[in-house]
Subunit: 183 residues, 2 copies
Amino acid sequence: MKAKEPTVLEYALLGLLHQQPQSGYDLRKIFAATALGSYSSSPGTVYPALQRLEKRALITGRVDERTALRPRKVFWPTAAGSELLRLWLSRPLSQDDVARRLDELMLRFAFHAVLDDRVATKEFLRSLAGEIDAYVRELESQKDLIPKAGPVHPRLALEAGIYQYRAAARWARMALGRFEDEG
Amino acid sequence: MKAKEPTVLEYALLGLLHQQPQSGYDLRKIFAATALGSYSSSPGTVYPALQRLEKRALITGRVDERTALRPRKVFWPTAAGSELLRLWLSRPLSQDDVARRLDELMLRFAFHAVLDDRVATKEFLRSLAGEIDAYVRELESQKDLIPKAGPVHPRLALEAGIYQYRAAARWARMALGRFEDEG
DNA sequence: TCGCACATGTAACGTGTTACATGATTCA
DNA sequence: TGAATCATGTAACACGTTACATGTGCGA
């Protein structure tokens, strides 16, 4: 019985439920209002995902009777859910993660408070900065492969990626500095 | 009869076929080797997408007999395909595009050579820079809403987004400068 | 009374992911 | 003989997207 990997959306929900128990509607509002909006806030996405998490016993819910309106169901993580989230948060990060799933890595960082382990977080940031540096070098070598004869647009588009990845590396080192100051 | 919107992957394929006629295998190699690798290079993704494009008469193909190995089918865009790509490239960009689909905007820029219209490209970059500025302001106002009592990680994660978007705006202005120099 | 905010859900559809299948040629 | 490269494809599955459905209470 291999444990099935939750989707990123499911991890996002699981992480948010660690901050405080909430209903599907609350979670949807967060997705709609904040930068997490890259994940869908539509009911057809959120409610089924919560059901899947509940079926796998990673969260539990109870109907809140107090409200006068339609009853809301408030969820919070189970011990197994916390365990799984921590595993996800502390998973070593690969080159491929940086190249194709940087957003997911940033989401992982956003929930790192759950680990409550400053050493782990610093290691995460150090590793992130290093992998980004390596990937930037790779992007730069790709730039050399683009024929100079053709139009400039593809080359410039690649440069946009380099700009953004460099900024991410700067961010990681800035964040690292924050954690070392607070030591 | 509403025209169905192709997926981003389909637009990526259509754009690459404008650079030169190629086979599915060639296109997969590009996705696997370059920064476009955020789009899948797996056969189960690429070949069906090419079939869909062919069925909608946006590309055509012909089997290349010359090679000794298994025959390869080379595709190139039809007039309708060119038309549709140009429409996509010159579509005005929205705030939402910047917030959630910046990668797609960069892909559009990468193919802008097809338009062969320096004015349009400059307008694209100007608009992009402006929308990014507006979105950065929104992210900054979101930062103020995060309670200072809680952990620093969510705030820092938001900051990562701000770093990357600022870099994208810098890139857009740099690129704009290139096009204005060349007159 | 009209519409909005609250609150949860289902159904249809298309697409991406993964794994499998096939088959020829080249190289160790 | 076996593995790798070339080259195209199919099938099962799960997920996200969109649209629809339902029902209450409050304010304009």
